[in-house]
Symmetry: C2
Subunit: 258 residues, 2 copies
């Protein structure tokens, strides 16, 4: 969606390392924004984006207009049912339908062999993998690691919205995800207790205005879980409003470690 | 969907004439049938299908099992909104969603350059063209003419369901479509009158048990119309139950003729 940061650029470099030719698509997709969301104020800096992309291994940039992508009388939408109405989908109805639709269109336009997505948008990554499998698409999906600030805050174009006090406090999300990881790896099995502790800790922070969700789920199929031992990997994921900014983050805990 | 008739075979021969290699997919797609529809009793004869396909220019047949196509935990659906809930979609909710989903999957599996569909399923053809355009699919859609019995009845695998008296009377659908074509080409502009006359004539036939719809629409965008002169081509289309069999048919009237 542009306004590139190190998270995007690390994906570009990874792609360049693994592939012959790297395309980057830059498109602020209106269809994945709700009517009261931040489409209009979403940060933009196309000239800086192009420079950064060029300097990080991108060979071609596809940066279409909204009208080129959604031509007059546009009507076709793709939905991965069951995965699109939980977590981020619960508070953002239609969001993932917008994501899968634009991603499928871009796959068809670019006809890449492999596409890279950040693990920071973990639910998005899982949904896109499911779409690719279900629709028999001939494309490989690769996930790149979440890039973080020194205090742990996950990089996001939306971090720009944060005031300085909010920015300082935003790392509380990652700290609570890490607490869960540490506890699970140390043998704690009561996920509901861990979850409630995290929510309590977040609620104590006066810059945290709302917790959309704080979930612990199976990292493959995103189902809610009780006993971590019964799952190959577990996902702790949150969407939290810091001031007027909605931030998401997650951590995946591999069974090998607990 | 198999149980091939001359309508399908004419498409195969047309494809062979225009293309190097012809694939035929044979798949009775459960997702486009409603719970109370005729999936279970839909006629099947795979051995005859294969023989007929081979004799009519088909180089390869793709005949997957339901389990190969809808693997466990299948979740992804494609919908062309606004065109899928009118006409056949009105009485068959989810039908076209099932059609577009399977067609997109088959396009991705076969990766054909061109795909042939019968004009008998006219709404389906329009919806598939719209999906291809909206999703930027790299495939050309070709429509083949409706093949008819001597008395005008459009060929359909479902004609097999008709008793001999029902079969005799089923041509009443095409006769009424032709009446409209003749009247429009002769200068008649009152489409509502033509439509009502057709419905009245159909209702007089004791083998006609129900009229799902009898519509006159713009042949490009399927919108309802009043003045034929304002449209490049008009579509007269009907879905009518003859006994316990639901039959569809249509006729496209070109502006050049009226």
């Amino acid at each position: 969606m542009g306004y590139l940061h190190e998270g995007h650029l690390s994906l570009a470099r990874l792609a360049k390392k693994e592939c012959d030719i790297v395309f980057m698509t830059i498109f602020l997709n209106p269809v994945q924004f709700g009517p009261s969301e931040d489409l209009d104020k979403y940060p933009r800096d196309p000239e800086r984006d192009i420079l950064l992309a060029e300097n990080n291994g991108v060979d071609y940039i596809f940066k279409p207009s909204t009208e080129e992508i959604y031509r007059s009388n546009y009507r076709t939408y793709v939905e991965v049912e069951g995965l699109s109405d939980i977590m981020c989908g619960k508070n953002r109805p239609g969001h993932f339908r917008g994501v899968t639709t634009i991603v499928l269109k871009l796959f068809n336009i670019i006809r890449a062999d492999r596409a890279y997505f950040g693990k920071k948008d973990y639910q998005q990554l899982i949904i896109i993998k499911k779409m690719v499998s279900d629709l028999d698409l001939n494309i490989e999906i690769a996930g790149g690691p979440t890039i973080r600030e020194k205090d742990g805050l996950a990089l996001s174009s939306r971090n720009k919205y944060l005031g300085s006090k909010e920015r300082e406090n935003a790392a509380v999300i990652y700290r609570n995800l890490r607490n869960i990881e540490r506890a699970v790896n140390a043998g704690e099995r009561d996920l509901e207790k861990l979850r409630n502790n995290a929510i309590k800790d977040l609620e104590k922070n006066i810059y945290v205005k709302k917790i959309d969700y704080f979930d612990i789920r199976d990292a493959e199929n995103l189902k809610e879980i009780k006993d971590p031992k019964k799952h190959e990997a577990i996902l702790a994921a949150a969407a939290v409003w810091v001031g007027k900014t909605r931030l998401i983050d997650n951590i995946v805990i591999d069974k090998k470690k607990y």
